[in-house]
Symmetry: C2
Subunit: 191 residues, 2 copies
């Protein structure tokens, strides 16, 4: 069965007509690794529901250093939320980490979906609530814990995926340089 419909069914129940309607608003797309779906400065016109592969979002600071905002694996959504919601230029890059398949929803279709299938307001409210909780937790973790503890948390959260993600991206996600991350890992091995 369809992964998106499965996920929706966890929170709201749709009739089969509504299910079809939802799918009709989405566009299945395939991307090779390293494809860039969005660049900083562009308007984010689509939100992506990942069904296969891994996609990440990041920003680049004034020194050209990347900071990973999120990794999306199957069952997760990814977009530059600020830009997608406001339809103004955003600051995030969205890039395919591993050959991926997604269901893409345009901003217009997202709005249509809300008006034609109002139950989805609830579904997305819940999805976004969960993202907010995760984002606040990460903020707290960054302020409360050392890099080592943050790496522990990362491994717990992404356990199986950690092996598919280049170290420099993990370093970026937990907020340290690749060099320090490498040193830290060597230190951990000695224990």
């Amino acid at each position: 069965m369809n992964l998106l419909l499965e996920n929706i069914a966890k929170h709201v129940s749709l009739t089969s007509q509504e299910q079809e309607r939802v799918l009709s608003f989405t566009e299945p797309l395939q991307f090779k690794a390293k494809t860039i779906l969005l660049k900083s400065g562009e308007v984010c016109t689509h939100s992506y529901f990942v069904t296969k592969g891994i996609i990440r979002s990041y920003n680049m600071d004034e020194n050209g250093v990347e900071h990973v905002v999120s990794f999306a694996c199957p069952g997760w959504w990814i977009a530059d939320m600020y830009s997608f919601l406001s339809q103004r230029p955003g600051q995030l890059y969205i890039e395919v980490n591993e050959d991926a398949e997604v269901l893409a929803i345009s901003k217009e279709n997202q709005e249509k979906m809300y008006s034609e299938v109002p139950k989805l307001e609830r579904f997305f409210r819940i999805i976004i609530e969960n993202s907010l909780v995760a984002s606040q937790q990460r903020l707290i973790d960054n302020m409360s814990f050392t890099a080592e503890a943050r790496y522990d948390k990362f491994l717990k959260k992404f356990n199986d995926l950690a092996h598919c993600i280049p170290q420099k991206q993990i370093a970026s996600y937990i907020g340290v340089t690749p060099e320090f991350f490498s040193k830290m890992k060597a230190r951990l091995l000695k224990k």
Copy 2:
């Protein structure tokens, strides 16, 4: 007119019956400064819409250091989202900074509100979307900017309120110690 209804009206339009219904789910409460509305380890049973004063939420790390998660002034919501949504014990404290008035909504009433006035699904979806964007922006800022730049951003975001908030709380919000914040401020004055 009522601040909550004003805010709702910015995103969805309610009939006057619906407006009354919404208010009937809320409980107006007053609190003196320093009142603690929620402690770490407790279940967050209410979400608060601030109509007067300032309320803040924070966690305390294993060394007893506080980290401010958010300041809520009139027109803002505050709760331990994780705990409120899951009804499990949370890690946040919620404390009144300045004598405050709020509209409190219990978890049960929140759920009733969603089922009796489905338009509110949309309202809260939008509110939470905006919180998510703000939270992610703060994450990016913490990873990309120095303490000085973060303080600049803080001043822009909370300009008028900055004067009402103790320095140690500002320091905590931007993620530095009170001592370093003090040093940094002195350095900024010299420029």
